[in-house]
């Protein structure tokens, strides 16, 4: 479960040594786009030694590896042997990529006696968006992550503040995630100096069903965590609903604050409480 995931370039020692103090639910150590071709080995060595020698690590470790089938992918995957990587973030995911990675990891895990690797799919191509229903059921997946910069580049369109141009992709990711019990992770807000813009973007993404958001700067975490957490009022409401339900477990529907409460609403209350506990808000 995530609200916020913070990208850290894999070749930046200053950010690495602070990775555990940021308030992100997960840190994404980036070996892909943030790293120039000449520095791939350097970044991989740094992240590997950081993971294997640091006594305190972030709550959840995500590794963005280079593209499957490329020169660096197999070397990046070697970091799974550290036992410290919780999830791999796979760029440009589509049906063929998912099938190829699944086969590759099945063999790799058997050979190296590793547990099943869990994946976050980065959806950043038009093909990836269209093929979502074809691979979202893969048991390795835990989340779908919209990468709007690459997607809009693929579509040859500009990004806007309103995000109208990514509405279809956002919606498709949200619905596919909900249908497959995956976390829908929204694309980062790229203007790191606009907290007002970030708040608006987060609030909108959350209102249509995104469950988390990626961040590209630590100063974005506070707003993202706040927007994607249940509010105090929501938690109070959910606790009250659950309390009434537990005292009358055989009553299918009841009234609370003038509104009818039945199973879907009780389920929503349970999810709010679960989330509040997970994020230590209770």
């Amino acid at each position: 479960m995530f609200r916020s995931l913070l990208f850290i370039p894999g070749n930046n020692p200053s950010m690495l040594q602070n990775a555990d103090v940021f308030s992100a639910d997960a840190i994404i150590f980036d070996l892909e786009d943030a790293i120039s071709i000449n520095e791939k080995t350097n970044a991989r060595n740094l992240v590997k030694n950081y993971l294997t020698t640091s006594s305190v690590l972030p709550k959840q470790v995500v590794l963005r590896v280079n593209a499957y089938g490329g020169n660096w992918f197999e070397k990046d995957i070697e970091l799974l042997k550290t036992g410290k990587v919780d999830y791999l973030l796979i760029p440009k995911m589509d049906k063929l990529t998912m099938e190829g990675i699944d086969r590759f990891l099945n063999h790799y895990e058997t050979t190296n006696h590793l547990p099943e690797t869990k994946l976050i799919a980065l959806i950043e191509t038009s093909r990836g968006v269209l093929e979502l229903p074809d691979f979202a059921q893969n048991k390795r997946l835990v989340a779908l992550f919209l990468g709007a910069e690459d997607l809009t580049s693929d579509l040859e369109i500009k990004r806007s503040e309103s995000g109208d141009e990514i509405f279809y992709a956002r919606s498709k990711i949200i619905y596919t995630s909900a249908a497959n019990h995956l976390v829908a992770i929204d694309t980062p807000y790229t203007n790191i100096n606009s907290s007002e813009g970030l708040l608006k973007d987060c609030t909108y993404a959350m209102s249509i069903g995104m469950k988390a958001k990626a961040c590209i700067h630590p100063n974005q975490l506070e707003i993202v965590n706040k927007v994607f957490s249940p509010s105090e009022d929501e938690i109070k409401w959910a606790l009250a609903i659950i309390e009434i339900h537990e005292t009358k477990p055989n009553v299918g529907a009841f009234q609370f604050q003038g509104k009818m409460i039945d199973k879907p609403i009780i389920d929503r209350a349970k999810k709010i409480v679960e989330k509040a506990k997970k994020f230590k808000l209770l």
């Binding site: 020692p13 200053s14 350097n42 060595n45 030694n49 294997t52 020698t53």
Partner: protein, 84 residues
Amino acid sequence: MKGIAGSKESNDCLITIETSEKTKIEIQSIVGAFFYEQILKTIEDTLTENRIKNVLVKIEDRGALDYTIKSRLLTAIERMKEDV
């Protein structure tokens, strides 16, 4: 043969390694007064683990932690091996 890795950014180090008649380690560090021995040990241990002998290692340290020094040295070694 020579390999270079790292940077002079804060919390990083720039490491140069090249073949030499005997192993020699030169350390310049902003925290050398406190951590010279620890930096030296990290470099010596990494060279030993990788069976590297007869090299000159120069490090310009800007407060790098042990794992950063080790990582930069490993990359410099790889680059030295590729430098033919």
